[in-house]
C-alpha cells in the first residue's frame, strides 16, 4: 500500500502538472492578497473580513482541485487500462481507494502550506492566525475530504472521467449556490433549504461565528454539523462505490 501511496504522490503532487498547479495557485493567492491593499473597496474591509474572503477563496480552490483530481483517479486508470493490473495486486479495493485519498490529501496539504505565508501577512498585528489555521484544518480539511471522497465514488461508479468530473462539479456548485445568492433570496424557498443543508454554507457560517461573532464552542459545533454529516455520507458513498469498482469488460 505504501508503494501505491508513493505512486499517487509522484503522479499527482510531484509531477509536472502538479508543480505548475501549485505555482498557478500561488499566483492566484498573490493577486488576491495584493488586491486587499491596492483595490479601494477591498482595502476598506476589516482585517477579519479580509481573512474570511481569503479563506473562502482557499476553500473554493481546494475543493475544486480535489474534485478534479478525485474524479479522474479511478476512471482515468480505467480509461488507460491500468486499473486491471491495480485490481490484480493483493491490495483490497478499499486500500487502493485509501491510497488515492491520501494522494489527494497530500496535494491539499501542500496548497494549505502555500496559503500559510499569505495568512501570516493578512493576520499581521492580530492573534487571528491560530484561529484561522485551526479552522482550516478542523473544518476546511473535512470539507475537502468529503468532496474528494464523493468525487472518487463518482469516479468508481462512472466509467468516464469527463462525466465523473462534471457530476462532481455539479454537486459542488449546488452546495455552493447560497454563496452567490443575496440574503433576501436565501431566507425563503429552495434557496433557504439548500442554504441550511449545504456543507459549504455551513462551513462559511462556522467561520463567521468563530472569527467575527466569537460564539460558543457548542454553537460552532452545531454550525459545522452539516459538514460532518456530509463527510459521513461521502464515506458511505465511497465504501459502496469501492465495491462496484471494476475494470471495463471486453474481449
Amino acid at each position: 500500500m505504501f508503494s501505491l501511496i508513493k505512486k499517487e504522490i509522484r503522479e499527482h503532487v510531484l509531477s509536472r502538472k502538479g508543480v505548475w498547479i501549485f505555482f498557478a495557485i500561488s499566483i492566484l493567492f498573490s493577486g488576491l492578497t495584493y488586491s486587499f491593499i491596492s483595490v479601494k473597496e477591498l482595502s476598506l474591509l476589516a482585517q477579519v473580513e479580509v481573512n474570511m474572503t481569503f479563506m473562502k477563496a482557499l476553500i473554493g480552490i481546494s475543493i475544486l482541485v480535489s474534485i478534479i483530481l478525485g474524479s479522474t483517479m479511478v476512471s482515468g486508470e480505467r480509461e488507460q487500462g491500468t486499473l486491471e493490473s491495480l485490481l490484480l495486486t493483493p491490495l483490497s479495493k478499499m486500500k487502493i481507494i485509501l491510497s488515492k485519498v491520501i494522494g489527494i490529501l497530500a496535494f491539499w496539504l501542500i496548497i494549505s502550506i502555500i496559503s500559510i505565508p499569505y495568512f501570516y501577512a493578512l493576520t499581521y498585528g492580530t492573534n487571528m492566525l491560530f484561529t484561522i489555521l485551526a479552522y482550516l484544518y478542523l473544518i476546511g480539511l473535512p470539507l475537502v475530504i468529503s468532496f474528494s471522497l464523493l468525487s472518487l465514488a463518482f469516479s468508481s461508479w462512472i466509467s468516464s472521467s469527463k462525466n465523473a468530473t462534471l457530476l462532481s462539479i455539479i454537486v459542488f456548485l449546488v452546495t455552493a449556490i447560497p454563496m452567490f445568492l443575496s440574503t433576501t433570496i436565501k431566507k425563503s424557498g429552495f434557496a433557504h433549504l439548500v442554504d441550511s443543508l449545504s456543507p459549504v454554507s455551513s462551513s462559511m457560517l462556522t467561520l463567521k461565528d468563530w472569527l467575527v461573532n466569537k460564539l460558543s464552542t457548542f454553537t460552532i459545533l452545531m454550525d459545522s454539523l452539516p459538514v460532518l454529516c456530509f463527510l459521513i455520507i461521502s464515506i458511505i458513498c465511497l465504501s459502496y462505490a469501492s465495491k462496484k469498482m471494476d475494470f471495463l469488460g471486453g474481449e
Binding site: 474591509l45 476589516a46 482585517q47 502555500i114 505565508p117 499569505y118 493578512l122 499581521y124 498585528g125 433576501t184
Partner: protein, 179 residues
C-alpha cells in the same frame, strides 16, 4: 379704506394658511422612530438589530407597509449597497390600524470602515408618500493592521520560491532522463 382692509385680511389669511400647512407638516400621517440604538461606534463586523416604531396618525388603517433600513455614507458622500450589510430585506406590516403603533426589528451587520447616518424608512402601496425617521450616527472604526510591505513581500516572494522549486524539479528530471 376698503382696499386697505382687503389687503390686511388677505395678509392675515396668508398667515393662517401658512400656519396650517406648517402644522400639517409637523403632523405626518405616519411617523417612524428609531428606539434603539441611539448610535453605534464599533469595529467592522459588528452586528446589531435596529428597533423602530411605526405610528399611524391617520383615522384609517394603512395596508402593506414596507419598512427598511437606509444608510448614507457621510465619509464618502454616497449611499450604501445594503446587501453588503445583510440589511436588504425589508420588514412588512400587513395592516397598521388608525392610531396604532407597531415595533419592528431590522438586523444589520456593519462591514466597511466609515461614518454613516442610518435611518428607517416606511412606505405603503396605498400612497406615494415616504416617511423616514431621524438618522442615527454610525461610526465604524478601522482596525486593520495589515502591513502593505509584508503583503508585497509575501505576494512576490511565495510564487518566486515555488518557481525555484519548479525549476529544480525540472532540472532533476532532465538530469535523470539524460543519465
Amino acid at each position: 379704506m376698503f382696499k386697505k382692509a382687503t389687503i390686511i385680511i388677505a395678509i392675515l389669511l396668508g398667515f393662517f394658511v401658512t400656519e396650517k400647512n406648517a402644522f400639517a407638516m409637523e403632523q405626518p400621517n405616519i411617523e417612524v422612530k428609531i428606539i434603539s440604538p441611539n448610535q453605534v461606534k464599533d469595529y467592522p463586523g459588528k452586528e446589531t438589530i435596529v428597533k423602530a416604531q411605526v405610528i399611524n396618525y391617520t383615522n384609517h388603517s394603512i395596508k402593506d407597509l414596507v419598512v427598511y433600513i437606509t444608510m448614507a455614507d457621510m465619509g464618502k458622500k454616497w449611499t450604501v449597497n445594503l446587501e453588503d450589510y445583510s440589511a436588504d430585506k425589508p420588514e412588512q406590516i400587513k395592516e397598521l390600524k388608525a392610531g396604532e403603533t407597531k415595533e419592528i426589528s431590522l438586523p444589520i451587520r456593519f462591514v466597511y470602515t466609515s461614518n454613516y447616518y442610518l435611518y428607517v424608512t416606511a412606505t405603503s402601496a396605498q400612497s406615494l408618500d415616504i416617511y423616514s425617521s431621524i438618522g442615527i450616527p454610525i461610526e465604524i472604526i478601522g482596525n486593520t493592521k495589515i502591513n502593505p510591505t509584508i503583503i508585497q513581500i509575501v505576494s512576490i516572494g511565495t510564487p518566486l520560491i515555488i518557481l525555484v522549486f519548479v525549476i529544480i524539479h525540472f532540472t532533476k528530471n532532465r538530469r535523470k532522463r539524460v543519465a
